[in-house]
Structures are given as structure tokens and as C-alpha cells.
Amino acid sequence: MSRAVSYPVLALLVIALVAVANVAVYQAGMEWFVGQPSLWIVIRNVLAVAVIVLAGGALIPRDGRTRSAELVLLLAAALFGIGSAVQFRLGADAPRQLSNNEIAAVRDSMMSAMHGRASEAQIREEAASVVRQRNGALRRDFEQSRIDTRLARSLEAAYGPTPDTRRILESRPRSSGDSILFRVLPVLVLLGTLLLFGRTSAATLLSSQWRLAGFYGSIAVCLLTLVYLMMSGGVRGANFAPQELLKLTLPIAWAGLLIHYRAAFVANTRERFARSPLVLWLYTLLLLSSPLLSFIVVRDFGQFLVISIAQTLLLGYYTRSALYVVLFVAATLATSMLLLGDTLFTGTTLLATLGIVVGAVVVLGALERFQRRESLWASASGVLVLYVAAAFVLVRIPFVMRLLATPRQRFLLWADLYSRHGNPTWWDSSRQIVEALYALDAGGAAGRGLGYGTPFLIPKASSDFVFAAMVEEMGSAGGILVILSFIALVVIGLRIATKMGRDTFGGILVAGYTLLVASQAFVHIAGTMNILPMTGITLPLVSSGMSSLLVSWGIVGAIVALSARPANAGQRLTIRNDDER
């Protein structure tokens, strides 16, 4: 096989793709948008992608350069570029909502006005309702002027300009688009990562002593993040979402754990498992507890889901067995049954849960019989049964119930979107998912055309529901291309990891990063389509949201840089567990 297409050609293809997408938005925007788009945003978006593709491509070290690394960079740049066009579109044509500072100002003024007369919780609630009202008014104003713009444009096209239509069309504000930092900082992060890891110190960082330092350091960062979150009052208050940082540090910890306790997870030898199933249970518990810990502290159900799925997939990848995947899926389904329990499936809950457990045990049994590891089957089934039993008891404890209130609501929405359960606010909660579903439905096969749809009707279209916004304007064709791009990214990333060696620290690290991207994209897309509970997770590389973008590009940079190490470095740096020798 030969390299049919060289890197510059593919790079130009990506730049052209991004340029056309941005120009399409610009063209539609001149016609329809409430805010007149500026050409500067198009130039700046295309420039950002060009810098990523060209400078990033140049920064991949020459000697260890692989095709896979180039393709990862190109695919990420293409997704980022399309994302920039969608953000451009959503930014120029969306209702302005109160910024965090304005919300804080509202809360402060309420605090000073109502001080001493109401409890802090009441004041917060009051402030939230004021913010909701003002946002609603802004949204209504926007929708009205969007309708006016469109009507005026159509009427002008048919009857020629009149004073009224001129007044509407000429009073359009110029839109500033999303902040330029969203395009500059990710590029800087990528180039910085490439410089840091790719040129000088990848080998050093992966050497034995540095690796241990990185491992403990990352655990420290995890803990510090959690402490910071506890101090700053959780996710909602913060501008920057520090729990995203966990995505950079956790894979390091996973890699370290897996390398250190390899024997516990890779049970090539049935004797080891026969001897110490307890070890497996303990380590499984240890691994499972890290996302759980973050969930308990941060109350961020989405991140919890992303991290646990990634971790499960990593275990599956590392052990070459579907054991953990089956365990996880069964446990999740059983938990969701227990969570939904009393409201939705009264009486049948226990039966359904039992069914899931039995089914999972059967699947596990089949898998393990196929691989001739009966003892593993027994222990894994034991873990599952114990887990379900514990969950069954735990979800009835008031403290845990309070903790699980949000995920429980998400699960209920997911299971029964249109139901009411005697709760008058139910509809407000399900509204945003319904909007996303309408958007997906409105797209059809080829979409309404970039800039011609109405994605601004979806709440949080630029971040949590960006996939719905894309499908509305680019159709199911666009949606499938997004999914295929992510799948390609992930498959190539895993290939890089496999090439580096399944048992090496670097290999596991790359696999961990890749699977985090995969699970985040999966949770986002499936949540948008109401296939999974909606969790408010961004789409990596595409959604707006500074922390999400920076971390995504940090991950891409790390994958590219690590993959490009000299070919023999992998073997040299592989440190096998002493038990194995």
C-alpha cells in the first residue's frame, strides 16, 4: 500500500471544508440572521484551522512521524472547524442570555434588598426566577426580531424595499460572534502540547521515575480539583469547569494503576484468579470509586457517566475481554431500574432488575466459557449480584436518595419524556430534550442548510445540544459524518495505543485519552437523541465552552505527541510488572 494522498493535500481539503462551511454560514447570515455576521469571523475561524493543520503538522517530530498521528490531527481539525462554523452560526443568530456576571449582579442586588428578611436559599431561588424571566424576555424579543427579519427579507424580495422593511433590515446589529479566545487558546494548547511532549521530553516523561511522579501528581491534581470544587460550590457557579481537568489527569492514574496491578486485571493465568478473587474485587472497587467520588463531590452526573464509560472501555481494551463492558452495562441498567423503580415500573422493578442480572450472568458465562475461564465468570457474577443488592438497599437511604435526585430525574425524563407524574414542572424539564428531538426531526436527510434552520429554539444549542443543531442544518448525513469522524478518530487513536504496546504506560495513556473522547462524544450524542439520559455534556472539539475545548485539544495534542515517539522507545520504556517476570 502506498500513500495515495500526501499530508498537504489532506490538509488543504480540511481547510477548504472549513472555509466552505464558514462561508455558507456567512452567506445565510447576511440574508437571515438577526445579527449581521462579519467576514472577520470567517477569516479567523479558517485561520485557526489552517494554523492547527499546518503548524501542528510541522510540529509532529519528523523521525517518529506516523500516518495515524497525522490523521488524528486532521480529523480533530475538521471537527473543530465544522464546530467553529456551527458556533459562528449559533453565536450570530441566537438570543442573548444573561452572562454569569449579570446573573451574579442580580443575585447580589437581591441579597442586599432582601437581606435579613429571607433565608439565603429563598433569595437564591428568587434570584433564579428573576434570571429566568429576564432570559425568557430576551429570548422572546429575539424570536420576534428573527421573524421580522425573515419576513422583511421575503417581502423585499417580492415587492421591493419599503420604509418598514428597510427599517427592520438596516437596524440589524452587527454580531460579534463567539469570543476569539475560543479559536486562539485551543490552538495554543495544541501547539504547546506538541512542543512540550513531542520535541523534547516525551521520552523523559515516560521514563520510570517521571512516570511515577506523573502518576502521583495526577492523583494530587484530582484531589485538588475535588477540593476546589467543594470550596467553590459545585459546577454551577464556576465559569471554568475544573472537573474537565480530571479528563487530563485520570488517564495517567489509570495507566499507573493498570501497570502496577496488571496481574489483578489480566487473568491470563486462571490460577491467579482462583487464588485471589478478592484482589480483583478490591481493585475493581478502587477503580470504580474514582468517578463515583467525583460524582459525590461535584454532583456532575454527566462527567460521572463519561468517566465510568471510558474506564470500562479501557478495562475492556486492556484485558481484551468484554467482561467489564457487560458488567458495566448490566450494572447501569439495573441501577436505572432501581432508580426509576417506584414511580415508573411499580411492582415490576424487582423482576426487571433480576432479569437484567440473570441476563448479564448468562452473557458472562457464555463469554468466559468461550475463553475457558470459569472462575472469572463466578467472581464477576458475584460482583454484579452484590452490587445490585447493595444498590437496592442504598437507594432507599434518604441521604443517598437526596444525592441521587438529579440523576433520578434524568432517568425518569429519559424513560418517559412526555409523562407528568403529577409534577407540574415536569414539562419544563423535558422541554429542552423535546426541542432537540424536533430539531433532529426538522433536519431530514440533507438538512435545512447551514444558517437556514432554527437551532436557536433549542436551549443550550451551542454546548449541550450542539449535535441537534448540527443535524437540523446538515441533516442525518451531517450527523452520521460527525459520528463517523469520531469513530475514525477513536479507532485510529486505539491503533496508536496498540502500536505503542498494550502493556506500556504510554499505550494505556493514549488509549485512556482516546476512550475518554469516545465516551464523551457517545454520551453527548446519545443524550441529545434521548437514547441515554440527558446529562448536559459537551461534544468534544465542537461544543463551545472554554474548558471543554482546551481539554479536548490537550488530549489530541497528547495523543499526537505520544504517538510520534521514536519507534523503539516503546520497548525501551516498557516496564513490566515484577510479578509478571
Binding site: 421580522d148 475492556g316 428531538l437 459524518l481 496498540t498
Partner: protein, 515 residues
Amino acid sequence: MHITLTQIVLILWGLLLLAVLLQYGGLVESLRALKGIGVKLVAGLVTVGAVAAVIYRSTGYMTPEREGWIVRGRTPADSVSPGFNTKARFRSLAQPLGRVTDRNGTLLAGYRFDEHLKRTYPAGNLTAHMVGYWTGPLRDGMGIEKALTMLNDSLHDDLPHDVKLALDLRLQRDAMRALGGRFGAIVVMDASTGEVLAAANYPTFNPDSVWYDEAWTRYVRDTISRPLTSRAIKDNFSPGSSIKPFIAGAALQLGTPLPEQSGFVCTGTYTPVRGTSEITEHGSAHGRVDMARAMRYSCNVYFSYLAYGLVGFRPAKTYLDSIGFDERLRWNSAAFLNEYRTLLPARSWVKGRDEIAKSRLGIGQASVKSNPIHVAVLMAGIANGGIFHSPMLERGRAPDTLRWHMSQTIARKLEALLREPLLPGGTAAKAFAGIGSRGIEVFGKTGTADREPDGREPSWFISYGRKNGRTFAVVVAIQNRNGMFAGDLNAPMARRMYEALDGYGYYSEPAGAHR
């Protein structure tokens, strides 16, 4: 084929993925290199599932059934509004509707800037039923406005489509003034083309105010005056004596021996079926009358005997059906209006006729009802020598001939009969005294119906007037005559309409001018 930029984006993106797939070190290699049943299993399942889900969600998610399921109320009642589907709601609100004008170019529906662009109806309640209203997703629309909103959907475009009506707003205003606040309708039609020059209704509503729930509920709940129902087009009334020209038409068409040939004498009463109430002349007997005299005095006995005793109910009904009494009269308009049935009139026959009702066919009671616009078409057809044009809604269309049949001879005979009520001693003679000085020759028939079970007591004047070879049909239907007779109530209104037509010069312009 027109390729949009978005399609180019999709194509380029697909090309990029194809290139990635084909590259050395690309997807195929990577897939081959992946080992471990778990990864491959999960990756495959996720791919297939995701693609299937995207296709499902984006092609067939919100089916009408599902939409109906939501609206049917599995959701909290207060949150379900007609704007539930926000995408459809937005599209409906942002869709440009064309201008609706009358034949002189006066705007009847258009946009006005009042903080925002608003759909307004400058003619207000004058043309409310013809033009209809549009309230976006808020309520089901009506009339031409509703048809316009559906036009864009069927044409798949976002362009405003203009409609120029054959209506004359001046005549419409005069007709409304002539009605003078009585419940009823006046239809004015150009006999040579079928153009509807006026279709006035009272009570009416203000189409600008149906946006507001308060006004809307008032309109809907007002079951006595029913302002949202177009009496000229959608409603029908007992024709009373105004059915008589058509009964005469049936007898002439079928060659029935007429009552005078067997020595008919009007004694003032007629009992068609044993044991039923008799049909009376309200105290007077006309004596020996022929058909012309019977038409002049509107002799109930003569026409009841003719319809029930000589022609027979079934043949009479068959004849009336052949001139459209059992039809939903279609407009001569661009196809969209008929397609959506927004202005189609009601059918005429009363359900559940018994023998008594059948016997009253000849005096237009109990068994049949007629619709003002339908009767206007019939009058125009008689004036035309038996050629019926379907009512023309828009200006500038070719006349459309209906398949109803009436021979020219019979049309001539009917015209002679229709002259009778305006002759001295006729039911409408007083109202039209002196119309000849304007040079207009009017042919018509009054109809004064008894109180029907629905509480209505309608009266009619159906007519057409000719001058300079130009003919216009005028039909005046009043819902409750309050004890008055059609000759004193409806005929003067019709006369005002003829004078207005003459005043605007309709009788002096050649047929089909402004076409």
C-alpha cells in the same frame, strides 16, 4: 440541480473520511489491528446503533400520531398549546403571506409595521369572512388567509403569493350598509363571468382581533349571532317562496301538465297529505291563476300542488340536484382554495325529511335550504340563457362553466316569469317602482319563509338586473325577518345594490373589462 454550500460541505467531509479510510495506516488497518472481542463488539454495536438512531430520529421522529398523542393531553394541560412544536410554530410565523387586494387594488390583507411586522386587514370586518384571518399557530385559520399559509407548504417555497380578488370593496361596503345591522347576507355577482363582486355578511368579526383570546372566545361562544360563520357562503336558509322559479323550471323541464291546464283554482288552502296541516294563503284566495300570475302573487297553493301533486317530490329533487342543490359548489379560483375547502358552501338538503316536509317543497319550507352564493349562481345562469358559471373568486381568470343543465328556452320562460313579481300587484313591485328610470331592467323573486324549527325566519330576494347588455345578479338573504315581508325588507336592499352598481359604472363598461 442546485447545489447549496451546505451540500458541498457534506461532500467535502465525506471525501475527507473516504481519504482517511483509504490511507495507509487508516481505518481499515486500524480496525484490523484492534484485538480483543470487547472493543470490536462495542465499537461495532455503537456504530450501527448510532447511525440507525440518527436516521430514525431525523427522518421519522415526530409523526402526526405522536404529535396528536402529545396534544391529546398526556401532558399537563396548561403546557400544551397550539405552538407546541416550536419549529413548526416558528416556520408558520415567519412565513410571508402575499397581499390580498380587491379588484381595484385596495389592500384587504397585508403587513403593517407596529413595533413588529403584523398581518393586518385594512378592510376590517367588511371582508372578514372572504379574506379570513391568520393567527400563526395560535388557531386554525380561515378563508383565503388559511389557504395562503398552506400554499407555501404545498409549493415548497417561502415566497409571498398575491391574490387579487374579484371583490369590489366599495360594493361590499354598500352591501353592508344596506343590510343595516340585520343578520343576513348580500351577494352580488357578474352574470357573464361569475365574478363575485360583493359577499357581505352580518354579523361579522374583526380579523385583527382574533389574535386576542378574549375576543376569540367571545366570537366562539356567541352561538346566537355566530359571527365567525359566513352567511353568504357557508350557511343556508329556507328559501321560502324564492324556490318557486326553480320549481317552475322543474315543471317546464319535465313537461309536467301545469295546474291551469286542468282548471286549477286557488281556494286559499291546500292539504297535500291527509291529516296534516294545510298550506294557506294567509287569508286570501287568488282564484283562477296561471303560472305567471301565481309567480306574481307568489301563490303557495299553486306551487305546492305543482311540486308535490304534479311533478312529485322525487323528480323535483332530481331536477334541483341537477342545478347544484346537492353539491358543494366549487369556486373558480386557483386550485389551492378548493383544495383546502376553506370557502366551500354547505349542501342544501335537509336531513330526515318526512312526508309533510316533502309536501312543502313547493313553498321552500322544511325540506330544502339554499345558500346565497349558490342562488346567485343560479340567477346569473338564468340571465345567461342557461349557462352557469361557477363563482369566480380571483380577478383575471377565465369563466368556468358548470355542468348544470338548463335549456335556453326554459331560461327565457323563467326570465319572463321572474319579471312578474316586479309588475304592478307583484310582491316586489313597490320596492322597485321607478327603477326603470335608471334604465335597469330587474328580474327577481321574493321569498318570505315561515319560522323553522331552528328558530330562523328567513326572507329572500333573488334577482338579476340588466342594462346595456350587462347583467348582475343580486341575492339578499335575511336570517330573521321579524314579521316583515321580503318585498318590503329585502327588495329595497337589492335596489340599493343595483343603484350602487349603476353608480360605479358597472353597467356602462363592457363585459370582462379589466380582465
